[in-house]
């Protein structure tokens, strides 16, 4: 800090600057990173900040206890919590691992009776908890459950029944017990506050008439994402009752009946002037797709990852979407479809290409490096990519990042482990070298293909802004991981599976882990002894090993290391060993 600025701060501290005023100012601060910085300035700022904070984001539910949170922040109205390690999404974490919301809810009921919003990711939530939530917070407005488990549609029924002021119900991608669609009918007949409703991933039928009435009553509805059981014939009836819709997730887009009902659909979409986000479209065909065109003029985000579109169909659709910034597609569109993306979407910032048939290795399908290259030539502003493919070359990636140096998120998944550059048969090291050298703003990287330690040397050396790194089936020795831990000053999350990194690598990060959120290593070469050493040297880290049935006793099958002020877990199941 230069001397001039230091003087100003001192001056302010000396004069009487009422805390109330400071709090008023700080209330405007929304970013939790900014708030963290503010709280470190001095004691009075710390206090002012903590009283003025209304939203708390806890990235790892085990890094802190409910008590500590409630002591520090007395006025919270909105909580976001994340639980399990990300690899639990891919079945790498056994069930009943933890991250149960229950103890948090008990604290909230006691300390935050005016709680309004709860956003959970990868937490375990039971029906009892949902009912408790519904009954304990009269002002409750928003519930978002993403990738959670442990509950059923009965819990949703409790929410619908009791939360009189609910404005947002967002149920996405959860591992829930989908018993029936009757929860939707539990919204009382006079209930009208809903603004966001997302039940796209639920599989049972809801009562359509009840849904229709609900949509009618909720005049402020802005986001509606229905499940695939809602038919194309039913959709217009919902659309005309929701004129303010900005985000729409359709149900099935399969046109079953002849053309006479197509005009109803067209009329309905003609009126959707405000749509910026579109998703769903399962079972879409070339015949039903054109009905959408009038509604696409202002679309900035289109999620076609449930719609098996062909390249020609996508090309025709994209012509109508000039404002697109984010696009998710299935690889049925193939390289030709991606060429159309390159030609039609100059403003594109984010592209995700998902595989349709990830396990079928002996049939040619999907996208290759050509599609990616084509996009990179047409969409120079690309900053976020998630790309699943079966073949890639170093040269292709080098071209891509030369065209698009602004990547902040680069997630490349070559689906066959250890796949080399298919033209040169070399490792893919040079590809990721190009990525980290060209993309100086890179925050998130996922690597794949045949990779030696060289890749990690490059990452450690060049990826100065990297925060999240995902590694699978890569590297040759401990040296690779050591390079990453020794470089990458901003590294926060490191998740590794099936790599030849052992104790030496693990322990080389001793000084690093407290500045990181977490480390995950599964099926690597780390042993229990190595983990014990780590735990002993770094008492403020939680070092947990998940033991898998039938594995070698000295092996640390899955290791999860994270910083915590809460101390070791008190609710760990028997297969989680805290060292």
């Amino acid at each position: 800090m230069d001397p001039e600025r230091k003087k100003v701060v001192e001056h302010v501290a000396v004069s009487t600057f009422p805390d109330e005023v400071l709090e008023r100012v700080l209330v405007q601060l929304k970013s939790h990173k900014d708030r963290s910085s503010v709280s470190l300035v001095c004691h009075s700022w710390y206090d002012a900040e903590r009283f003025s904070r209304t939203h708390v984001f806890i990235a790892n539910c085990y890094s802190v206890t409910p008590e500590i949170v409630s002591r520090r922040f007395p006025n919270i109205r909105s909580v976001s919590l994340k639980g399990k390690p990300r690899f639990s999404d891919f079945n790498l974490v056994p069930p009943n691992w933890g991250a149960n919301i229950r103890s948090w809810l008990v604290m909230f009921a006691a300390k935050y009776p005016f709680l309004e919003e709860l956003r959970l990711k990868r937490m375990t939530v039971t029906d009892e908890s949902l009912e408790f939530l519904a009954l304990s917070f009269p002002n409750f407005k928003a519930l978002s459950l993403l990738s959670c488990d442990g509950f059923s549609t009965d819990g949703l029924a409790a929410i619908a029944t009791h939360c009189k002021n609910l404005a947002e119900l967002d149920i996405q991608e959860n591992d829930l017990n989908d018993k029936s669609g009757s929860w939707l009918s539990c919204f009382p007949e006079n209930f009208s506050s809903l603004e966001v409703l997302n039940f796209a991933n639920l599989s049972n039928d809801v009562n359509f008439e009840a849904l229709e009435r609900l949509v009618s009553r909720c005049k402020s509805l802005k986001v509606l994402k229905v499940n695939r059981n809602i038919t194309l014939e039913q959709l217009p009836r919902l659309l005309i009752r929701a004129p303010l819709l900005t985000e729409l997730g359709t149900g099935s887009f399969l046109q079953e009946h002849p053309a006479c009902q197509y005009s109803e659909l067209e009329n309905a979409f003609n009126k959707c002037m405000n749509l910026n986000t579109l998703s769903g479209l399962s079972e879409v065909t070339a015949l039903s797709l054109p009905a959408l065109y009038p509604a696409c003029a202002n679309l900035t985000f289109m999620n076609l990852s449930c719609a098996a579109l062909q390249s020609g169909e996508l090309a025709k659709l994209l012509v109508h979407c000039p404002c697109l910034r984010r696009l998710w597609v299935l690889d049925t569109v193939e390289d030709k479809g991606l060429e159309a993306v390159g030609s039609n979407c100059p403003l594109l910032e984010e592209l995700r290409v998902f595989p349709t048939d990830p396990f079928d290795e002996d049939t040619f399908h999907g996208v290759t490096e050509s599609g990616f290259i084509a996009v990179s030539y047409g969409c120079r502003r690309l900053s976020y990519v998630l790309y699943f493919c079966r073949q890639m070359t170093n040269a292709a990636v080098a071209t891509i990042v030369q065209n698009c140096p602004d990547f902040t998120h680069f997630r490349l998944c070559i689906m066959n482990p250890w796949q080399p550059d298919y033209q040169t048969n070399e490792p893919m090291d040079e590809a990721f070298c190009a990525v980290v050298k060209s993309c100086t703003k890179l925050q998130r990287l996922a690597v794949s293909g045949l990779l030696t330690d060289l890749t990690f040397e490059y990452i450690g050396k060049y990826a100065k802004n990297l925060e999240t790194l995902s590694v699978a089936f890569a590297g040759s020795s401990d040296w690779g991981m050591q390079c990453v831990l020794g470089g990458c000053p901003k590294l926060r999350k490191l998740e590794i599976r099936d790599c030849p990194f052992g104790n030496a690598a693990l322990l080389s990060g001793l000084d690093k882990y407290e500045s990181m959120r977490s480390l995950w290593m599964s099926d690597c070469k780390v042993t229990m002894n190595g983990c014990r050493v780590l735990a002993k040297e770094m008492p403020r880290l939680n070092v947990e090993v998940i033991k898998v049935d039938g594995s070698n006793e000295s092996q640390a099958d899955k290791v999860y290391v994270y910083r915590s002020v809460a101390g070791p877990r008190t609710d760990a199941p028997p297969f989680v060993l805290t060292l």
Binding site: F87, F90, N91, L92, D149, E173, D175, L176, N177, N201, D205, R228, E256, H257, P258, Y262, S282, E283, L287, P290, C306, A308, G312, T356, D357, F359, D360, E361, D362, T363, F364, H365, F388, R390, Q391, C413, M415, N416, P417, W418, Q419, Y422, T424, N425, L450, T452, A472, G475, S476, R497, D498, P500, D523, C524, T527, V548, D549, G550, Q555, D557
Partner: protein
């Protein structure tokens, strides 16, 4: 040394079924993870063929296969060993991880049935496909796997009871028409817009997939197949003779259908029998086809004979 892989590592099966007739499916035996036996397969290769470079089932073979394309001139399959992949020091750990992961996944699979959760289905989908048993790879979330399973895997037979093909007047089908099917009984989750079936051609190890619902007659289907396989081998060039013309009009008779190319188009029906394509009405064909095969005419002897036609071309008209 820690983490040593024992011999009892879980067996990982080779990638799916081989496409060429009679070629043996290579499997990774328990004893020997790195070396595959390919004695039988070499006898099935043509000289002008792509080398069947079989490698580790977990996809390394793909890279090796393509790389070996450069080695023409009568070389046939070479057994790939660890020496070909000096970097793959961690391959040993895969088997151990597979075995430990498959044991954890199997226990979690059984638990999944009790909790009626959907998360485990990703791995059961993998297991059902006979694909590699690596847990959680590729990294796709379970809800997405479920929606893919709903979309892509239904056999053609269960979908159409009566097939009525409609097309909108204002959206004339150009070239490849799109058929829109109405069914009498509306069955949720079984109505599909696309009907992908696998197509394999004798002598080409990598198959393709074709969407039958985007065709309304045999002619366009055959042309689509000719286009598909023309890009991947020299065999198709021999079909086309001098014309390396990629723009095929709808009216030109297909060589695949009239038997003039040395290859015939066949399909496997729902009873498992292999039939010549073109004999039954299109709707019936769609109803019973499971997959397609472009077979060498010399091998097509045992197939159900097609009725004699004077022009030798396809006799079914678009519906």
């Amino acid at each position: 040394m820690q983490g040593v892989v024992g011999g009892g590592a879980g067996a990982v099966s080779g990638g799916g079924g081989s496409s060429t007739s009679g070629a043996s499916i290579s499997t990774v035996s328990n004893e020997d993870n790195l070396v595959l036996s390919s004695e039988d397969s070499s006898s099935c290769l043509d000289e002008s063929e792509l080398e069947l470079g079989l490698g580790l089932s977990l996809g390394v073979g793909m890279g090796a296969c393509k790389a070996q394309q450069g080695l023409r001139g009568g070389q046939y399959a070479r057994i790939l060993t660890a020496k070909d992949f000096p970097y793959v020091g961690s391959s040993a750990s895969v088997s151990s991880s597979s075995s430990s992961s498959s044991s954890s996944s199997s226990s979690s699979l059984s638990r999944a049935n009790v909790t009626a959760g959907t998360k485990r289905s990703a791995d059961s989908a993998a297991a059902a496909n006979g694909a590699s048993q690596v847990v959680g790879w590729p990294p796709i979330r379970a809800y997405r796997m479920n929606s893919l399973v709903n979309q892509a895997k239904l056999p053609a037979t269960e979908v159409f009871n009566s097939l009525i093909v409609k097309s909108r007047k204002s959206n004339p089908a150009v070239g490849k028409g799109t058929s829109n099917a109405c069914v009498n009984a509306k069955e949720k989750g079984q109505l599909r817009s696309s009907l992908f079936v696998k197509v394999n051609m004798d002598g080409i190890p990598i198959g393709r997939k074709v969407d039958l619902s985007s065709h309304r007659c045999y002619e366009t289907l055959a042309q689509k197949l000719e286009d598909m396989f023309a890009t991947s081998s020299t065999i198709m060039n021999s079909i086309r003779g001098e014309e390396h013309d990629m723009m095929v009009e709808a009216t030109r008779p297909s060589k695949l259908l009239d038997g003039s190319s040395g290859f015939v188009l066949t399909y496997e029906d729902k009873e498992g029998d292999w039939m010549l394509v073109g004999d039954v009405p299109w709707g019936m064909f769609i109803n019973s086809v499971r997959r397609l095969r472009i077979m060498r005419a010399s091998e097509a002897n045992g197939l159900a004979p097609r009725s004699e036609e004077s022009n030798g071309g396809q006799r079914m008209k678009p519906i």
